[in-house]
Amino acid sequence: MNDSPNAACKRSGNNLTRRRFLKSTLKAGGLLLAPQIVRGSVLGLNGTVPPSERIVLGGIGLGHRGTYDLSCFMGEPDVQFVAVCDVKAKRRNAIKQKADEKYANKDCATYRDLRDLLARNDIDAVLIATGPNWHATAATLAAEAGKDVYCEKPCSKNIAQSLQLRDTFRRTARVFQAGTQRRSLPNFMYAVDLARRGKLGKLQTLYAHPDGLATSMSGWAPPEPVPPKEEVDWDIYLGPAAWRPFNNKWLDGFNFEKGGGLTGGGCLEWGSHCVDLCQWANDADRTAPIEYEPQGDQLHARYANGVKLIMRDNGWIGLGSCPVRFEGDTGWVETGDDGDLVASAPALLANKSAKVSGYPANFHVRNFLDCVKSRAQTRANAEAACQSHITCHAANVALFLKRKVRFDPVNSEFIGDEQANRLRSEALREPWGL
């Protein structure tokens, strides 16, 4: 399972602090320092932060990943975490204990129904780390309630949800950050920067590693006795997913109804990271490829600007999980979760900054908090997340149909392909809507 919080902590050495990263990066003259400098001196974060300047945070669906994300939030001095919502009593109680210990009080409120947490006027922002089944619906409800949102990935179950998410955050003028934290990690940022600034020449081919390129389908399992609502609220857990009887094995959240059931798999799970990075490298945050074709154990896509996107399982240098490789006509660069960069020429790496391995989320969380204050777009904003998720969903549709599909990114529809178009959306269970 990717993004295990424990693994992330271990691989980042547990000691990696923002301050340490900043210091080492300053020394190395690294990437994108300015936002952090601006935060310190401009946005009112000099040591202690008065309560009036703190971002009041709530959490929705905080399991393993959510607990890790929350630790990143609670490590920031301008965050006050006040409430947790989870359909599972054990989880909400564990988070309450963690928060109450941190603040030495008993103030962290607990909720079973996210609508109750979202009704609180004192909460500015929410961390959403439910299973993927709930991500888009919960994020939409939060935005409509006037909250800024940090939402774990994959953020949507299909193409229509991706568009609705984007439109909701436009309409409500709320800040959104997808939990694609590699957009805030120096090695990935550096590689993307080389591609975007023409250092590799004219971009030719982008490679992503959405491990497990296959579609899967959820369905119906034999009924089991449903636990008491206070222990596990099955109705809310099911949420927007079509109704089925309780079965304990659905409760992992992580895989339940990912990708809307008909189409899911690694393409969405990992692709929301590595395909997203390719989108960014190709300056394609507002568009998506126009063709998708399964080829053996790969999926080949092509953008309107001629750049190829290849999703593959094999052929990597070995730089850890979630590798990406960008090839231009004069050079190439490859990087992964180990934090190392390999390039076609040493000069391409002359400006690289201190190595950070283990894909920690704290820089990404900081970027979100800064944008909550400045109202700027985050690095993984709703527009960008929309298109990178659409790319993953469209690839999944091609994998599911086992044939080439052509896509019109302007109208967000497959061209002359009714079967593919019917896979763009899926009804939500009552009473939920987007």
Binding site: G30, A145, R171, W220, W243, R244, A427
Partner: protein
């Protein structure tokens, strides 16, 4: 994966992909799936059949799907198919269900021990299923349903009325707009936020169809209604954007507000509203704003990225209070071009590292082919902090043309310049620089200078490898 799961789950996995493999026609698929729905098949099989009908179903499947809208186990599955199947038949079935659900008993029958906490009595269940049907009508944007939905705005169940409002917003035609505007004026406070959501969605759709005046009426109605803050903000945003330049006074009102939420909305819309007039208005506001707001306004201007905004940012990077200057450097790092070279080089020589370091980082990434040439051209006549900055930036940008000039700086009397040169050569130097430095070492009689050159040679030889051996062999 799931040991012991029923036949339905296996069916689900084998489903459409299997259909592809066997080249069974979609029509045959549909017939088989309809048969499943009409049979005594287990619930799981019926549910997955609905899901497959979303791909293979036509109007012929609708009569088999429609009754499921009255069954709490299958309503959500049936709507998956009904939302996806093209043509008028699903619309008609959904409208029919929306009309009938209140007056007709719905099928429950789920054993409460396995059902979770679904609504218990028939009326609640009817309302919940009705909400689902109304949501699907909205997704399909069925204009023939506008009257029906307008009627549902008065439903005794608030969730039904709220769903009707949002679906009317999604349909988004003038008739829907009229119904929503009327409802907003008279709805109880608890329902008003949902109606406001419908209004804003509807106005967005009207605007997309170039019905600007109609859209503005709706946005204005929302911003002037008694609503929760978030809904009012959405109305204000729409009102400003729909008006274009004529919305600037409203934008300024937001940017001058003492209310943080209102000001925040202004910061967002200041990035969205197109046009030079808007940029100039935001720039004026930036110049006269309180100190704590100026960096935020500059960041918003920076995101507009037009010529007027760029000029303001350049001035701020060159001469302003520190927080504003830092914001300007951040913007130039993100979107600056060769024209920012001079101002960033000056900032890079600043004694405050919170100004100089981000400036160096921005310079290292500054796009434009002539930036490298300009750096090389400035190097010979430079000295002190400027020389140090030029060397550092040239190295980080990988400007190999600068190497001969950087080699000479290894013996610079200024310690910081020497350090920059050593760092640069270590990063960038190659075989040629080993030879150059070897010759310099042979000539030099100054102990300090020799020590520096030796330091670079050690670093370089480690990186260059065996090709550096021949020139090094020349050393005594």
């Amino acid at each position: 994966m799931f040991a012991g799961l029923g036949l339905a789950f296996a069916f689900a996995l084998a489903g459409p992909a299997c259909a592809q493999d066997t080249a069974t026609s979609a029509k045959e698929q549909e017939r088989a799936l309809i048969q499943v729905l009409r049979s005594d098949a287990p619930p799981g099989e019926k549910a997955i059949a609905c899901k497959k009908l979303a791909i293979y179903g036509t109007g012929e499947a609708v009569p088999a799907l429609a009754p499921l809208l009255f069954d709490e186990r299958f309503a959500s599955w049936a709507r998956i198919a009904l939302e996806a199947i093209p043509g008028p038949a699903p619309d008609k079935a959904l409208r029919q269900a929306a009309g009938d659900l209140r007056g007709r008993p719905v099928v429950g029958g789920i054993d409460s021990s396995i059902s979770g906490d679904l609504p218990g009595n028939n009326s609640e269940l009817q309302a919940r299923l009705l909400v689902g049907v109304i949501n699907s009508i909205g997704v399909r944007r069925d204009k023939e349903a506008v009257n029906l939905l307008a009627h549902k705005l008065n439903d005794s169940d608030a969730a039904v009325a709220a769903a009707a409002a949002v679906s009317l917003g999604k349909i988004g035609d003038p008739q829907a707009a009229a119904a929503l505007r009327r409802a907003l004026a008279k709805a109880p406070a608890t329902l008003r936020p949902a109606i406001a959501e419908g209004c804003v969605r509807c106005a967005d759709n009207l605007l997309a169809e170039a019905r600007r005046a109609d859209a503005i009426k709706l946005y204005d109605a929302v911003r002037q209604a008694a609503l929760p803050r978030q809904k009012i903000l959405e109305g204000i945003r729409g009102s400003i954007l729909a008006r274009g330049s004529a919305g600037i006074p409203l934008l300024m009102e937001a940017l001058r507000s003492n209310d943080r939420q209102y000001f925040n909305l202004g910061l967002r819309v200041a990035r969205e509203l197109p046009g030079r007039d808007a940029t100039e208005a935001v720039a004026r506001e930036f110049r006269q704003a309180a100190a704590d707001r100026r960096p935020l306004l500059l960041l918003a201007l920076g995101d507009r990225a037009d010529a007027t905004a760029r000029a303001v940012v350049m001035r701020a990077a060159g001469n302003s209070e520190k927080p504003v200057r830092c914001a300007a450097i951040e913007i130039l790092d993100r979107s600056g071009d060769a024209s920012a070279l001079g101002v960033l080089l000056n900032d890079a020589t600043n004694e405050d590292p919170e100004i100089s370091q981000p400036s160096l980082a921005a310079l290292a990434r500054l796009p434009g082919g002539n930036v490298d040439s300009e750096l090389v051209a400035r190097l010979p006549d430079s000295s002190g902090r400027m020389r140090e900055a030029l060397i550092t930036v040239a190295a980080r940008r990988g400007v190999e043309r600068a190497l001969p000039l950087i080699v000479r700086s290894v013996g610079d009397p200024n310690a910081e310049t020497r350090a920059a040169a050593i760092q640069a050569l270590t990063l960038l130097g190659g075989k040629n620089e080993v030879a150059e430095l070897t010759r310099a070492l042979e000539k030099s009689r100054i102990p300090d200078e020799r020590a520096h050159i030796e330091k670079v040679l050690v670093a370089l030889s480690g990186r260059v490898g065996p090709t550096c051996v021949p020139p090094l062999l020349a050393l005594n």
